[in-house]
């Protein structure tokens, strides 16, 4: 049962629970009209202390398409956080108004603090460079839709693997599926954090390699997961400038890839995927954004415990 639960870390859901969310998402995609009123009378609060387009709007679109309503704030400046209110106090207040909350915060662990003090389900919409579990649900649903299953593939994850919270969440979640090989492509300074390497990849005996050149492995990949080097995660502007153009996916690199490889990206992109790739049938990142809304619809339904009438 997922009713009343929080989603803070991708590992909060078992593989079976994830599958139940994906199956519901499949049904919603198949017959959206049948779900148009299931959340009538329910309120989703979006507490976004950090700018976001996709995540906040996809949460809001998800709730509206389920017949529910939304309220919230989209920056710390427009909330009482600007007056110094704690996450705990904000959460306890929101819980008196809404039925479910999606929270994004620049500080790592803030949604966990909210969940520990909340009687309503809290969904982590991204916390600093830490975790982004609903992006992971999006990524998994996309891979599952494109490949038909979540096992037996080689995934290349490229870019900022140090601060990229989507990467950490994705590796954690994929570690529980069979026969997945990870190729981690990043500059030395942006390699995955030790805890992901040691406690997820090594501890579970997963096959992985860490390399610097994307060209060297393009022909091995079934999925290429590109990420942005995120300016907002750097304390030092010079480091950002030095590393921001480390990887750019263009037609030349795509010509080395398998014909059925899929390119994913959590978006927004800056310049790491050339726009000339957008019309390549292997580019799946805008489809991915759409799956993100459907998987959030399924998640909201599960956490609220509502079902199709």
């Amino acid at each position: 049962m997922l009713k009343g639960r929080h989603l803070i870390d991708p590992m909060d859901l078992t593989v079976e629970e994830l599958e139940s969310v994906f199956k519901l998402a499949d049904e919603i995609i198949e017959n959206p009209a049948e779900y148009a009123d299931v959340c009538k009378g329910k309120l989703l609060s979006t507490c976004f202390y950090e700018p976001s387009t996709r995540t906040r709007l996809s949460f809001e679109a998800a709730m509206l398409r389920l017949g529910g309503q939304v309220l919230g704030f989209s920056s710390a400046e427009s909330s009482s956080a600007a007056k110094g209110e704690s996450v705990r106090d904000t959460m306890m207040t929101i819980a008196s108004y809404a039925d479910i909350c999606a929270m994004r915060h620049p500080k790592e662990g803030a949604p966990k603090v909210a969940a520990l003090n909340s009687p309503i389900p809290v969904i982590n919409g991204g916390d600093g460079g830490h975790q982004h579990p609903t992006q992971t649900l999006t990524d998994l649903l996309t891979i599952r839709a494109l490949r038909g299953k979540l096992t037996d593939f080689t995934i290349g994850i490229c870019g900022d693997l140090k601060f990229g919270r989507t990467v950490h969440s994705l590796i954690k979640a994929l570690s529980r599926y069979d026969n997945i090989k990870f190729i981690l492509i990043s500059p030395e300074e942006l390699k995955i954090p030790d805890y992901i390497r040691e406690e997820i990849l090594m501890k579970n005996g997963l096959e992985f390699q860490e390399i610097e050149r994307l060209e060297d492995v393009m022909n091995e990949l079934d999925i290429l997961y590109m990420t942005r080097v995120q300016k907002e995660r750097f304390f030092n502007e010079a480091d950002y400038v030095r590393l921001k153009d480390s990887y750019i996916l263009d037609k030349d690199k795509m010509s080395m890839a398998k014909q059925d490889m899929a390119v994913l990206h959590p978006l927004p992109r800056v310049n790491e995927i050339s726009v000339e790739i957008d019309n390549d049938p292997r580019a799946a990142y805008f489809k991915q954004a759409k799956y993100g809304m459907y998987v959030r619809m399924a998640l909201i339904m599960k956490l609220l415990g509502v079902e199709k009438c």
Binding site: S86, V87, R88, H105, P106, K107, E108, G109, A110, K112, V113, D127, G128, G129, H130, D194, Y195, E199
Partner: protein
């Protein structure tokens, strides 16, 4: 030589690294105690060279779990009728609260001071703890308890 009498009944916390007894005194909230406590510093030790000892008289129900996190070399003797009736092996506690601070400047605890600093055990063999909020490891080499 300074002499501190043995206790008839109570707890002796032995093999504390020299100089650390004051911290342990604090973590066990002994400063709030209304019973007799002796803290002995820099005692000669075959095992450690120098060590600290804390003796607690007539009290047996103190939660000592946090000591396993602070220093697993510490030994605990339970004394009754002038004799050691039990030696406790310290286990690593599953979670410690407000013992160490998270060193991650991106952690929510870095800006909201009233949040409990909680670390959970993630690897017993490696004695590895992580912040429950941001997953930052507690590194004893960088952070002195």
């Amino acid at each position: 030589m300074l002499k501190v009498d043995s206790i008839e009944r109570g707890i002796v916390i032995d093999h504390i690294a020299a100089g650390k007894s004051m911290k342990i005194y604090k973590y066990l909230n002994l400063d709030e105690a209304d019973f007799t406590v002796a803290m002995i510093k820099n005692v000669a030790s075959k095992k450690l060279g120098r060590k600290d000892i804390i003796k607690i008289e007539n009290v047996l129900d103190i939660d000592l779990n946090v000591l396993g996190f602070i220093d697993h070399n510490i030994t605990i003797n339970i004394i009754e009728n002038d004799k050691i009736v039990k030696k406790l092996n310290l286990e690593l506690p599953q979670e410690v609260s407000n013992v160490v601070k998270c060193s991650n400047p991106r952690c929510i605890t870095s800006i909201e001071q009233e949040i409990d600093q909680r670390f959970r055990l993630v690897n017993r063999e490696e004695k590895l703890y992580r912040c429950i909020y941001c997953d930052q490891a507690y590194d004893p080499n960088k952070q002195d308890i």
